[in-house]
């Protein structure tokens, strides 16, 4: 006749370890979801910033060739003599989210700058008929393309 013994302590501990592994997996899932949501927010902003570049090219279509731009994470202001220079300075500010929202950390106001990693790049190409803009984020692995016919 089979004995009516319950679970041994070893069996209980093994069970607990398995449940623990399950929790860790769910935790990883949540962490991944939070990171994905942050990326989604970042992408929304990248889309609007890309539209800004293309809109500025359309707005100065006769001078579109002056809107060539190729910068990575560091941006330093250029000239201010004409519209294209002013617009490019505006892009530099907006790519870094300058003068928008600040958070007080250790008694210092810090700007909420978007992440910029090695490999990230903002580049615009202009030829006789088209203007294109490429915005690379996440070490250059996520790429946003936007183009427009300008003539």
């Amino acid at each position: 006749m089979k004995s009516n013994k319950g679970l041994t302590i070893i069996e209980s501990l093994v069970c607990l370890v398995i449940i623990g592994i399950g929790f860790i997996a769910v935790n990883q899932l949540i962490t991944f979801a939070i990171v994905s949501m942050d990326r989604s927010l970042e992408r929304t902003k990248v889309n609007f910033l890309s539209e800004m570049v293309i809109e500025d090219m359309i707005g100065d279509v006769n001078n579109a060739s002056s809107y060539v731009f190729n910068e990575q994470c560091s941006h330093s202001a250029g000239g201010t003599s004409n519209l294209s220079d002013k617009q490019k300075n505006k892009w530099r500010e907006k790519f870094q989210a300058k003068n928008q929202i600040r958070v007080l950390e250790n008694n210092v106001w810090k700007e909420k700058r978007p992440r910029c990693l090695p490999g990230d790049r903002k580049r615009s190409y202009v030829d006789a008929t088209t203007g294109r803009f490429i915005f690379k984020t996440s070490k250059g692995t996520r790429i946003k393309y936007l183009g427009v016919g300008i003539k």
Binding site: M1, S3, N4, G6, I9, S12, L13, L16, I19, G20, F23, V26, N27, I30, A33, I34, M37, D38, S40, L41, T44, K45, N47, F48, L49, E51, M52, E55, D56, I58, G59, L83, K86, Q87, K90, K94, A97, N99, Q100, I101, R102, V103, L104, W109, K112
Partner: protein
């Protein structure tokens, strides 16, 4: 046949089982709390992202249409775009856009921050008026024909700041850009008067920049944070709280106004 003895648990066994099950229940409860909070934070961030994406797309569409006049529209067409600082004492701007949707219909769309009936929180309102200078009719009413219980659309809940900046063809800021108060139908009492220059500036507008700062519906930061909103010309510090905030920005070329 030998029958095994059915002895009960010993005190030690019971105690060990109790300790293990207490640890397991505590772990599960903490995990539940953590997952629940993370999920709420996730939902709130998704809500901010969605609000920013959809609302700014709608505003951009209206801005691209601003000043569009149908070639068969016969009535006066002298107002295209306007901006008011500190509208209704909200410390935020209002943006008014006018355009034709048909040879007989003209729309006036006003974006502004409006307080919820309860509390200090605000939402971004979009008020649409059909034919504003000739038999105006508000959209989004419970009874459209009798114009009863008309309310503007709530296109973004929990907005902290809304700023609009107009720039001319040389990239310089244009201010003021607005029409004479006397000519504004349904003007809010706080609508400031506007100079002739302000009215004339309408036709000089080349680009519109819009800043929108959205707050999470629920507190999601573990610690209280102090925010300083410095969109365009505004600069104000908010009292510390646990809410998360994001600023969205768009820049739109006003193709229909430039071609007028």
């Amino acid at each position: 046949m030998k029958i095994k003895k059915n002895s009960a648990f010993t005190l030690i066994e019971t105690m060990v089982a109790l300790v293990i099950s207490t640890i397991a229940v505590a772990a599960m409860y903490n995990a539940y709390l953590f997952f629940n909070k993370s999920y709420q934070g996730l939902l709130d961030k998704a809500s901010i992202s969605n609000a920013g994406r959809t609302s700014l797309s709608v505003i951009a569409k209206d801005l691209r249409n601003a000043g569009y006049k149908d070639m068969n529209y016969s009535r006066a067409f002298d107002r295209w775009i306007e901006q008011t600082n500190n509208y209704n004492s909200t410390q935020a701007d209002s943006l008014v856009i006018w355009y034709n949707t048909s040879p007989t219909e003209r729309l006036r769309i006003r974006y502004y921050l409006k307080k919820y009936p309860t509390g200090k929180e605000m939402f971004l309102a979009r008020e649409v008026v059909e034919n504003p200078t000739n038999s105006p009719k508000l959209r989004h009413c419970q009874r459209y024909k009798t114009q009863k219980n008309c309310e503007p659309q709530n296109i973004v809940p929990f907005v902290t700041d809304f700023q609009v900046v107009f720039k001319d063809a040389n990239g310089n800021e244009l201010r003021p850009v607005c029409a004479d108060k006397k000519t504004v139908s349904n003007a809010a009492p706080s609508t400031p008067g506007c100079s002739t220059a302000g009215k004339a500036n309408q036709s000089k507008v080349h680009t519109a920049e819009v800043y929108l700062t959205v707050r999470s519906p629920n507190p999601i930061n573990k610690t209280q944070k102090k925010y300083r909103i410095a969109n365009a010309d505004s600069d104000r510090t908010l009292p510390p709280d646990n809410y998360h905030r994001e600023t969205f920005y768009i820049s739109v070329y006003l193709r229909n106004i430039v071609k007028i």
